[in-house]
Symmetry: C2
Subunit: 760 residues, 2 copies
Amino acid sequence: MATLGDIGVAAAINILTAFAFLLAFAILRIQPINDRVYFPKWYLKGLRSSPLQAGLFVSKFVNLNYKSYIKFLSWMPAALQMPEPELIDHAGLDSAVYLRIYLLGLKIFVPIAILAFSVMVPVNWTNSTLKRSNLTYSSIDKLSISNIPTGSNRFWTHLVMAYAFSFWACYILKREYQIVATMRLHFLASERRRPDQFTVLVRNVPPDPDESVGELVEHFFLVNHPDHYLTHQVVYNAKNLSSLVSKKKKMENWLDYYELKYSRNPSTRPTKKTGFLGLCGSSVDAIDFCTDEIKRLSEEIELEKQKVMNNSKYIMPAAFVSFRTRWAAAVCAQTQQSRNPTVWLTEWAPEPRDVYWDNMAIPYVSLTIRKLIIAVAFFFLTFFFMIPIAFVQSLANIEGIEKAAPFLKSFIEMQVKFIKSFIQGFLPGIALKIFLIFLPTILMIMSKFEGFISVSSLERRAATRYYMFQFINVFLGSIITGTAFQQLDQFIHQSANEIPKTIGVSIPMKATFFITYIMVDGWAGCAGEILRLKPLIFYHLKNFFLVKTEKDREEAMDPGTFGFNTGEPQIQLYFLLGLVYAVVTPFILPYIIVFFGLAYVVYRHQIINVYNQEYESAAAFWPDVHGRIVFALVISQLLLMGLLSTKEAANSTPLLITLPVLTIWFHLYCKGRYEPAFVKHPLQEAMMKDTLERAREPNFNLKEFLQNAYIHPVFKGGEDSDSEVMSEKWEDQEPVLVQTKRQSRKNTPLPSKHSGSLSS
Amino acid sequence: MATLGDIGVAAAINILTAFAFLLAFAILRIQPINDRVYFPKWYLKGLRSSPLQAGLFVSKFVNLNYKSYIKFLSWMPAALQMPEPELIDHAGLDSAVYLRIYLLGLKIFVPIAILAFSVMVPVNWTNSTLKRSNLTYSSIDKLSISNIPTGSNRFWTHLVMAYAFSFWACYILKREYQIVATMRLHFLASERRRPDQFTVLVRNVPPDPDESVGELVEHFFLVNHPDHYLTHQVVYNAKNLSSLVSKKKKMENWLDYYELKYSRNPSTRPTKKTGFLGLCGSSVDAIDFCTDEIKRLSEEIELEKQKVMNNSKYIMPAAFVSFRTRWAAAVCAQTQQSRNPTVWLTEWAPEPRDVYWDNMAIPYVSLTIRKLIIAVAFFFLTFFFMIPIAFVQSLANIEGIEKAAPFLKSFIEMQVKFIKSFIQGFLPGIALKIFLIFLPTILMIMSKFEGFISVSSLERRAATRYYMFQFINVFLGSIITGTAFQQLDQFIHQSANEIPKTIGVSIPMKATFFITYIMVDGWAGCAGEILRLKPLIFYHLKNFFLVKTEKDREEAMDPGTFGFNTGEPQIQLYFLLGLVYAVVTPFILPYIIVFFGLAYVVYRHQIINVYNQEYESAAAFWPDVHGRIVFALVISQLLLMGLLSTKEAANSTPLLITLPVLTIWFHLYCKGRYEPAFVKHPLQEAMMKDTLERAREPNFNLKEFLQNAYIHPVFKGGEDSDSEVMSEKWEDQEPVLVQTKRQSRKNTPLPSKHSGSLSS
């Protein structure tokens, strides 16, 4: 077991690492050459242009102003200064609410830590159970519940504290749910006119031998929503087309590359082999080849476009139906249309940029089968993922390789020392690491297969699965050493009241491990996040080799998103650790608080300056966040019950059973009270906005506004100039808050311009 | 263990009992004097009048036609003859679908039994495990799985059979769900105009200092449903008033009684004591007293009525809001109205006669707290109900009584033999029996406390609870002997994979017990049901003592209902037994099939001739029925898994785990596919009916039709003549299928007249 000193050394190392990262960031960020890596958001917003205009040549790349080096931590207060409404305006509600999760952590754990250190630590400290016992123990354990003698009355303190912590957490959770729900409703209410406010997605349009999908949809809604139906857009199956478009784009990139090469070395025209991966086949002039290919692809795309538009086989049985009023759209989204509940499924349309186009045409039966398959697959992924990895690892030792490739034998045995240690020390770990790196992608693919139709819901589902995986394989896996499958086997063979005991007993012993984990994964991870080492390197590589025009440079920027599907489960793990250890080993709490504080500042900075969110779901993820914290709360209560029952404080059991019952009830109450704000669409709000708008702009042509809102992105590609005109028109019509110089729309496709808040 | 002979004897006794009941019924039902007991439904429908018109005096009471005695079982084919559409017309969809549950039992178990007896019984029979062992065993056990040697390959038969049975059950369940859903939709679509089709119940109207509830409701819906809102009716708090009305009614009954007494014995006017329960206080002339009281109460009622109607304090924050079209009502019922999801809660209004008026005004927070309280209370009721009963039982022995009342000691000791045996043999059992008789009432009170607003939903919830109670205390309680709490304690201390084993192993041993149970509770119970002993006796007592006029005689009839909250859980127990034992001891199946067949005939007869359903929920209970059968299926699969794993057929476990997973998936699929038909209200249907009706009767005054539909029943009391006129008007307007001579409306209140199907 680690002593206080060990922890101190680990803390020192991690603090130093984090500090080094922060220092590196502070220096790198003020170099003009890195400006686009650390402030891409502002470039995308058009509020910042390249710092290449004036001054010395050197100062284009290196910051020579020594003053800016002195105040190198100035970004921190700057990140905190932007008020929340402005932040919502700047980065969207999703990002603003995402930051509130970190704040929520501070709000929950700071008072809990104060209470724990002022009450529970003295109670734990003033015992001498560990001293009297012959066990080795550390100073941390003296602060923990382990130091209380079996059957002592002092456990009442822990019981009372468990109640106090739970009530405090629930109080804060309820308050936060209310605030976020209000923010969401206010955000939705103060938004400008957006196509998705008037539009409903209809799926599973039943096939009809006499009518096309478009006619069928039109007739159905003209009959069943006669006064409200406005227009509709059918969904085309454009998978083929979009693959052609991306091929063309790739070819254009190659063309750029070869032209650059040629311009640098005009003596020889670059050549290219036509075969597999450019490795074999006959050699041709690369620039000509690319130009020809692009021409051919363009023609093919045009042909495919015509085919898709005109052939009814490419029309999917789904459509975006728009209504005259928000009220009618809210009505249609919330009601069942047909007698058969598996056809004419309506739901609120996601934002155009949030639509996941490939999943539009999945029929109902297929959806339920996919759900079953994914549920089973996820079960096996969670509990048996170690099997293939162990198999790979078993191959990755010397004997395995020797068996697989006998001809290497002599070679290996010659240089055996170094290679052996390399292979055996490094490769097995790498198999696991690679799996863990790809896990979010695997989970995302699973969600896609399951048939969600918006990117936001895909990410939410992937986040849920990632959390479950982490809970089982990181949290439980660290406490009860062994693979998830071994745990499962153990739990099945244990009685229901033994399971919390088994876990509960191991918990105090694992405190030091989790403290180290928090420092490495949390502290250093946060500091690494702000440094953006990978985007920094990639940007400069691209900038050096590929960038010719301003547009290329913009494309070389990779702002990324805050990544809800990986970020949120990580935060949730800290909530879980904090709540579980609050009563058992409160010494862990300060580390968690430091994490939440640091992460809050770092992510606030990143959200203001870097990340460019790809969609806006108006904080639709909050019910998940809330639910997982309540889950962590219940788990912590059950584990405490298990722990105390082994400490012969069994008369506390009835009181401890009451706690999860009350917590679950609290969850159900909150669910009923606040969740509808995230799922349903109140008619009162819709009617209010409709009425206001009708009074303000009685002659607005809504049909024109909605005409092309939900067109598959590939159809927009060629019509850049058109949409530019369109968007200009919109900007004329509605006063834009910030003067923009839109230079790119790569990451902010057309409809997003009409989003954003009018709240100011 | 019972041998085949024992079972035979038990079967003979029960068959004889059942036969005796049926014979008694056959004779009693053809006596004119009992006509109102056995055919009340026809009297209530006005299609049958008292057989007192002509003929001999004796033939008014006794049937002298010897021919009718010969064909004494003729009621059976008669009960089966009425085709289903006519049955729906006659008794409503609820009753017709309720009968389908019995049919479903036959459909599931007859093929299963045939398969089991042709395949599994030979496989079991041709072993000699039991013969070789030294255990005592019965012939039944030779037919069961117990006869297969441990680790035998023959268990594959049982595995395959388990799959076959599960698939068959699921196939039939799905088919039945589809049929019932179609029946429901057809029933709803073909119904005549009914107030509840246009009406939505709004609860939790937020308080407003400036406006009354009525104004508030009107304004809110005029704003948010401007083209659709028609009218509304506020809900009055008439608890006080209805208690006064029932007091008055009671007093009128007493007056009738005393007047009858006086007319039989005109020499002395009856007297009555005014004190507590008529036992003490001064003696007064009873007839005068009652007349005065009635007068006083009438005045008080009139006063209270005025007060309720005019004082805003008596208006509850709830209202029935009616719309111009069914479409608008469907929209309003399915959407969220306000930003705050706990106010302006809308749901489809129940039928007027189905409304449970007392629960209209419960605010949201209170509802969630009530749910928690009831959940906890039900948990304690289920697991600890034996404690108070054991306490009563412990009092009910000699020592207890002697302690409680020492003065009885000498008395008891004198006649000790007889009294002792009486008290100790009889009283302890009676405490349990009384509890079990009152259990449905207790569960009903629980549901009422929980805040459901229609009688049908109250009954559904009570049925769910009753089933859970039976599952734990009857099914598990019989298999693992011991109270529910002891089981709970045992299960908590057992590992998850031990629990199915513990139960699974005991299952084959309990087959004979359950066979006896089926015969006593099922066979004899059914036959007892048709005899209607209690209503028969009560009717004749009332007829003898109280009945003076034709109206009194109608009131003395007690047709009752089929009692979903007690009847359905009982059927479900048989489904559970059948599915669990199908693979283990198929010998039980014929008994269950006989039960289902007999019960089907008996209940069909009762529904045609006796029961008068108090509401019509259009088979809203089917999702519950389906869900419970699926639950039974999953339980049976888990128990089989437990049983086989003790038989060392462990290599079958993966295959057996797949089965519940598939079954649960099947349930989710059915839930998504068919449940919306029972919960939601498709707009297409509503629109179709609206359009048709508008074309048919363009000038219909809907407002007048809806004006008084949702008035608290006590306000209707005095306006009998008015409503008579109104109802006559309706009958003029819409052609009535059957010529009625409505003599009473006690059990068919006004709005039900407008219900019923137009399908013919």
